[in-house]
C-alpha cells in the first residue's frame, strides 16, 4: 500500500518535511506539483517528522502538494535493453524510447568484499605517452582528470574511451553542458560504440539535485554488467558538480560544514562511489574515469583534494597537456614490470630530469647565466614537452620508450641521466 500525504510542513531549499508514519530511511517518494512530479528521497527521520530531498528541486513546491511514498529505495532497470539508450539523471528516458521497468535493481548497494577483489593486471593502452609510459592506466582503476574548466577534458575522456578495449561504456553526466553531451554522442557514434554505450545524463539546465543520483545509477548498472562478466568503463563528468549538489543539501540541512561549506562526509560520499571500481575475482571489471574540475585551478580545493585521496591517481590536465607533476597512476607498478625492462627506470628517470629542467628554466627566467648543464636541461625540457607531452602525439608505449632514449642520447652523457649502467648498455643510442 502506498501512503499518500497531502500536507508539506516545511520547504527549505530542496528539502521538504512531512509528518508521516511507517516511512523508512532512504525510501523514495513522488512529490506531485503543479509543474509535474518529482522523485524525492528520505534523508532524515525524527519521530514522525520525515525530511526528503526533492530531486527536481524545491522550486514551485507548495505546502498543499501531494507526497506519495513508494515503500522502497531508488531502483533502476537492468538488462541488455539499456544498451544504446539515453536516460536522464533519474533514469527516465531522454531519447524518446520506452521506459524500462524490467528487473529493477537497487542503487548504492553494499561494497565489495576486499577478499573477492583481485590485483589489477591488465594495462589499458591509450597511445598517449604521458599515460602509457609515465602513468599507465590499468583496467579496474579509478582515476579522474583534474583540470580547470575550459580544458579539453571531455575530449580526452572520449579519446581514452574509444581506445580502451572494454565491453561497454556507461557515461554518467552531471551538470553536463548540452554541447558536451552532443559531443560525446557524436564521438561515440563515429567510433562505432554507441550500441554498447548507456547514457545517464544530467545536463546543466536540469535541477542541480538531480545530479546526485547519476553516479549511483551508472555504477549500479555497471556493477551488474561486471558481475555478468563484462568489462565496463564508466565515465563520470563532472564530479565537482556532484559534490556541489551534496554541499547544497548539507547546507539546507544545517549540517556543520568542515571545509569551505562542504559537509564533513564529503570523503566518505565520494569514496563510496569511486570504490565501485573493481576487478571481480572470476568475473568482469569496472574502470572509472572521472572529471574533477578545480575551481580556481586550486588542487587543494576540497573536491579535488578529497578525490585525490580516494582515487588511484589522477591525470592533471593543464594548457592542453597532461602535466608530469601532479599526475599519477597508482596502479602503474602492477603492470609496468612486465612491459619492457627499461619502462620503470625511464618513467622515473625522465621525470627527474624534467624536474631539473624546470629549475633551470626558473633560473633562466630570473636572468642568470646558464651553465653547460643548464643548457643541456633546457634542450631536454623542450624536446620532452614537444615529443612526449603534446597530446597530439599518438604512439604505442614501445615507440614512446624508444623516443625517450633518443631524446636522452641527443641531450646528455649517459652518466648524467641517473639511470643504471645495465640499462644504458642495452638501450643507449650512439649519437650521430
Amino acid at each position: 500500500m502506498q501512503k499518500v500525504y497531502s500536507k508539506i510542513e516545511s520547504i527549505s531549499g530542496n528539502v521538504i518535511t512531512v509528518t508521516a508514519a511507517g516511512v523508512r530511511y532512504k525510501e523514495l517518494a513522488v512529490v506531485g506539483t503543479r509543474y509535474g512530479s518529482s522523485l524525492a528521497e528520505v534523508i532524515r527521520l525524527k519521530r514522525d517528522e520525515v525530511a526528503l530531498q526533492v530531486f527536481n528541486g524545491g522550486r514551485g513546491v507548495s505546502t498543499g502538494d501531494e507526497v506519495r511514498f513508494l515503500g522502497e529505495p531508488m531502483k533502476v532497470s537492468f538488462s541488455d535493453n539499456l544498451l544504446g539508450r539515453i536516460f536522464d539523471g533519474s533514469g527516465r528516458p531522454r531519447d524518446g524510447g520506452p521506459e524500462l521497468t524490467d528487473s529493477m535493481i537497487e542503487i548504492g548497494g553494499p561494497s565489495v568484499n576486499p577478499a573477492k577483489r583481485i590485483i589489477p593486471r591488465r594495462m589499458v593502452r591509450t597511445g598517449i605517452p604521458m599515460i602509457d609510459l609515465f602513468n599507465t592506466l590499468v583496467e579496474s582503476q579509478k582515476l579522474p582528470i583534474f583540470s580547470v574548466s575550459g580544458e579539453p577534458y571531455n575530449e580526452l575522456l572520449a579519446r581514452i574511451a574509444l581506445q580502451a578495449e572494454v565491453d561497454l561504456i556507461i557515461l554518467g553526466g552531471m551538470g553536463l553542458k548540452y554541447d558536451d553531451y552532443l559531443f560525446f554522442k557524436e564521438t561515440l557514434e563515429k567510433g562505432g560504440v554507441l550500441s554498447r554505450t548507456v547514457f545517464f545524463v544530467h545536463t546543466a539546465s536540469d535541477p542541480v539535485v538531480e545530479s546526485l543520483l547519476v553516479p549511483d545509477i551508472a555504477l549500479a548498472v555497471a556493477e551488474n554488467f561486471a558481475i555478468h562478466g563484462k568489462r565496463v568503463l564508466v565515465l563520470l563528468t563532472d564530479m565537482t558538480n556532484f559534490a556541489d549538489a551534496m554541499k547544497e543539501i548539507a547546507i539546507t540541512m544545517e549540517q556543520v560544514p568542515s571545509n569551505r561549506g562542504y559537509p564533513g562526509d564529503l570523503y566518505t560520499q565520494l569514496a563510496s562511489r569511486y570504490e565501485k571500481a573493481v576487478d571481480f575475482d572470476g568475473s568482469g571489471s569496472i574502470t572509472i574515469l572521472g572529471v574533477t574540475t578545480m575551481p580556481g585551478d586550486d588542487v587543494t580545493h576540497p573536491v579535488p583534494d578529497n578525490t585525490g585521496y580516494i582515487t588511484e591517481g589522477q591525470f592533471y590536465l593543464r594548457n592542453g597537456r597532461i602535466e608530469p607533476f601532479g599526475s599519477l597512476s597508482r596502479l602503474k607498478q602492477q603492470v609496468n614490470g612486465d612491459t619492457r625492462p627499461d619502462h620503470r627506470a625511464m618513467m622515473d628517470g625522465m621525470i627527474k630530469l624534467y624536474a631539473a629542467y624546470k629549475e633551470s628554466l626558473e633560473k633562466k627566467s630570473m636572468g642568470f647565466k646558464m651553465s653547460t648543464w643548464d643548457e643541456k636541461l633546457l634542450t631536454y625540457g623542450d624536446m620532452f614537452e614537444r615529443e612526449m607531452m603534446d597530446l597530439s602525439v599518438n604512439i604505442p608505449l614501445e615507440s614512446a620508450l624508444d623516443k625517450g632514449w633518443e631524446i636522452l642520447a641527443s641531450c646528455f652523457e649517459p652518466e648524467e641521466t641517473g639511470l643504471k649502467s645495465e640499462l644504458i648498455a642495452e638501450y643507449w643510442l650512439n649519437k650521430v
Binding site: 525510501e27 553494499p110 568484499n113 587543494t300 580516494i310 627527474k352 633560473k363 642568470f368
Partner: protein, 582 residues
Amino acid sequence: MINKVIGVSGNMVSVEFTGEASMNEVCYIITGGKKLKSEVIRIKGNVADVQVFEMTTGIGVGETVEFTGELLSVQLGPGLLGQVYDGLQNPLPKLAAECGFFLDRGVYLSALDETKVWKFTPSVEAGAKVEAGEQIGFVREGIFNHWIMVPFHLDGVLTVKRIVAAGDYTIKDIVAEVEDEKGDLHPLTMVFNWPVKRAIKSYAERLKPSETLITKLRIIDTFIPVAKGGTYCIPGPFGAGKTVLQQVTSRNAEVDVVIVAACGERAGEVVETLKEFPELIDPKTGRSLMERTIIICNTSSMPVAAREASVYTAVTMAEYYRQMGLNVLLLADSTSRWAQAMREMSGRLEEIPGEEAFPAYLESLIAGFYERAGIVRLKSGAIGSVTIGGTVSPAGGNFEEPVTQATLKVVGAFHGLSRQRSDARKYPAIHPLESWSKYKGIIDEQKTDYGRSILFKGDEVDQMMKVVGEEGTSLDDYIIYLKSDFLDFVYIQQNSFDPVDNAVEPERQQYTYDIIMDILTAKLNFASKEEARSWFNKVRQNFLDYNGKKWKSDEFNKLEITISQLLADKKIGVEADAEFLG
C-alpha cells in the same frame, strides 16, 4: 524492556529505551529480518544515540532494538595471525565464502575457528597462584608459542584449581579453572573477549623505548629512526607515498608480528597485501609473511562507524600479542580517516564543533590511541612491545591542520612527506630536513649529524643559487651542494621496487654510510664547477649500480674499488669541520 527507533540520520539512529543502557554498549537494530550491529555513543534521558556499523537504508521509526549489555569487544585467542578482518573482527574470506562478492549487512561470523584443534601444553599446575595476563599454558601458532593467559579482566591473585593435561583442544574447550580471592570459580578456555576501547594493562612495568626498530629503509634507520615500543607518524599529501612506505615497512620491519589497519582508504591497497603476503617468504623465518601478519580492513566504502572501531580493534590485538613477549608493529593507514569518522558522528550528534568541524575531544582521543604503544616488562619478566606508526592525510597537504598537529604533539618521530620530492620522483619522499625523531638510530650520532649538516648547507647553497645564480656561487659552496645532492641521491633515496635496494640490512647501511662519509668529509680538488659536477656524476653512477648489487658479491666489491679509486683521484685531505671525527 522495549526499545524503539525514534530517528535516523545517516549512520546514527536514536533509540528510546526503557531500563538501562551503557556507553559503548553494543545493541542490534532489527530491520527487514536482519540485526544490525550498533554501538551506544550518547545517552540523554531515555534516548540513546547509537552509531550503526552498517548501512542504515530501510530502517524505520518504531523498529525494535536489542541491547546486549556488552561493550564493543574483540575475541582474543590462538588463530588471529594470518587473518583478514573487517573493523569489527569479521573474517572477510569466510564472509566471502558465505555471502559472495558483497558485504551483506547483518552477517556476523565468529572471529576464530571454533573447530580447529590446537596442541595445548600447560605451564602451571593445580594450586599455582596466577594473575591476569600470566601464562597458564601455550599452543603453537605458526612460528610462535601462543600463550594461553589468565583473562585480563580477572582481578587479584587467582588459584589454579584444575588444569587439563597436554593434548588437543579447541578454543571452546575448558582448559583450566581458577578461583578468585572471593572464592568464585572461573572456567577458562583458550579464548576470551576484551573491550577494544580499553588498554590492556596486565604487565609489571612500562619501559622507555630505546632499541631501534629496523625498517631497512636507509633514511629512517639512519636519520629518523623508530624505536620498539615507540610511535611515529607519516603525514603527507595524497600520492606522496604514505601507503607504499607502510607497505614496505610491513614487509621488511624486524618485528615479530605486524598488524595492518587499513582504515578508510582504498580497498585495492589491502588486496595487494592480502594476495601478496601469503606468497612472500620472510627470509628470517623461512615462512610466509602472512603468518606474522593480521590485516584489519575497513576501507573507505565500508560503513564509517566501523572505521572508527577498526583502529581500536587493531591496537587491542597488538596489545594481546605484546602480552606474549613479542614485538608488535601496528601500521594504521590513515588515522585521518578515523578522525573523520569521529567528525561525521560528532556532526550527527550536533556537538559543538572545534577546528575544521572536528570534535573538541579529537586531541585527547589521538593521544589516547598512541598512548597504547609502549614497551613493557611483563609479570613473567619477558619484554614485549607495541610500536604504532600512523599515516596522516592532511586536507590540502597542509600540516597546519588539527589531525597532524594533534598527532605531532604525541609521537616520538615525524616522517613528513613532501609533494615536491614525490613530484621529482625522489622516493621515499620523506623530507630529510623537516622530519625528526627522538629515538636512537643504528649509526653513531656524530656521523649522522655531519650528514645532516651537509644536507642543510647544501639546501642553503641551493636556495642561494636561486638568487645569485650558479656563477655567483663559489666553487667551495658548489661542492657542498654537490655533496648534499649526492647524499640525497644515493643514500636517502631508495628504490622500493628494486629487488636489492628495497630492503637494506643495518650492517650494510653502516658500511655504505662510512663510504659516503669518506666522500662527504673529503677536501676535493677541482679546477672548475664543471669538473666537479662531472666527477660527482661518475661517482653517483657507480654508487647507484653499487646499491643495486647483492651485499658483498663480486660486482659489489668491484664497484666499491672503482668508487674508492675515483675518490683517491680527487681527495687532497679532510675538511676542517670533519677532523674531529677522526
